[in-house]
Symmetry: none
DNA sequence: GTGGTCTAGACCACC
DNA sequence: GTGGTCTAGACCACA
């Protein structure tokens, strides 16, 4: 899986990295159980610091997406556990709300949001 | 127009302030040419620092939404056209993408996202 | 509130720090809303690195015990939210189980555990 | 005696192994003088590295629980007396303290902790 | 070789 | 002055 970071982005490197990995998991580029590069390996490959990679890996571990083992390395969680309980759904809804709110503030209509959403799913590969 | 800031929000105060003003302009609560409170006046009204208000006003001036005039104070631009350029749209799309990734990772289907989105707009209707 | 770290302990410094702060909150040495020393201030006071303090503060933020604000500093959460839902209770029970298991493994009887527990509450100040 | 290791546990494998053996000795599943499997045999049986078993055996030897003899292999010490010294008791007490702190922070009373503890021992009775 | 922890020191955004 | 992020480089425990 190819990972590209934009050092000029306003987004923190570890956030970008987290998103890329999430994207990979969502699209099947990374499969449950698959081993990821070592913290130091990926860091040197991306030309960034070990701690930055470590931070991203650990946050994804907290989110239940990765499994981190001190001596065996980092893998995609076998059970990228499907969290569809109501509490979690409401968290996601809140995130959606934030985006919608920002669209409203800028005069972007629901139709345009729908269109963007459709594009996102299209980019995602139609699945 | 009523402005509400959340000091505990992760969002910087000046960003919140900018959004509230943009929202007011986009929805007609603030009309072109309308005079806004002075930097000091608004700051004291909101209980925040003068610099924070000033920063928001100036950034909105840069965006062409406000006009700052030494003697006349701050007014809404006569020629506001809150419309987001493509660059900004892509920022929003990226935010949408993040939410979608998270849904995918957790096995939440596009249909469910559509439903959530509809609900968000429904809730918004009650404002 | 006095904080003492043991650099020779096997326990990581940031864990020790977290526990001391938790202890402070549990015993009223730190009250809801109270401001804590700045990341750098506490670090220099304790003679440790800024990042170590930052890590402890942030983990406590994740646990809902502290509130971290980029420009206003760190405070004890106003609502050190009482989490007594069943899901959370079962987490605590699991932690208790681990301790009990270790006692069993070493031939320490329930009576002795009860005694230790009583002592802990006694040390805590009887409240 | 059946030994079960959890490779995904945060606890190091050799620690888990030590605890299982101690548990066996403390509860009579392993009797003084009884011969244990060879390092290589147990390692292959458990599917773990030989070094890991060796480390556990040697640490238990240091604790006086096992006897390692070049020609006779590894046996349970004839004079085992699994009894924890005060230093170790204070380690356990510290662990108990941590759980208690967390309960306090979350408004869980001593009575509730006592109740949980009783439940833990009840669950344990079913082993 | 794997991740975890800690230090030292830099630059940034926000107020 | 506040915390956040990133880098560079060191030592440790575990397998």
């Amino acid at each position: 899986m190819i990972i590209r970071l934009d050092v000029n982005s306003e987004e923190a490197l570890y956030i970008q990295l987290m998103n890329q990995i999430k994207y990979g998991v969502a699209n099947g580029y990374l499969t449950p159980g698959e081993k990821l590069p070592s913290v130091r390996g990926l860091a040197s490959e991306l030309g960034i610091n070990m701690h930055t990679v470590s931070k991203a890996y650990n946050l994804l571990k907290d989110e239940g997406i990765l499994v981190v083992n001190r001596s065996k390395g980092v893998t995609v969680s076998e059970s990228v556990l499907i969290r569809t309980d109501d509490a979690y759904l409401s968290v996601l809804k809140k995130k959606l709300e934030e985006v919608v709110y920002e669209c409203e503030v800028n005069g972007i209509s629901k139709a345009e949001v729908d269109e963007m959403l459709a594009e996102v799913y299209l980019d995602l590969g139609g699945k």
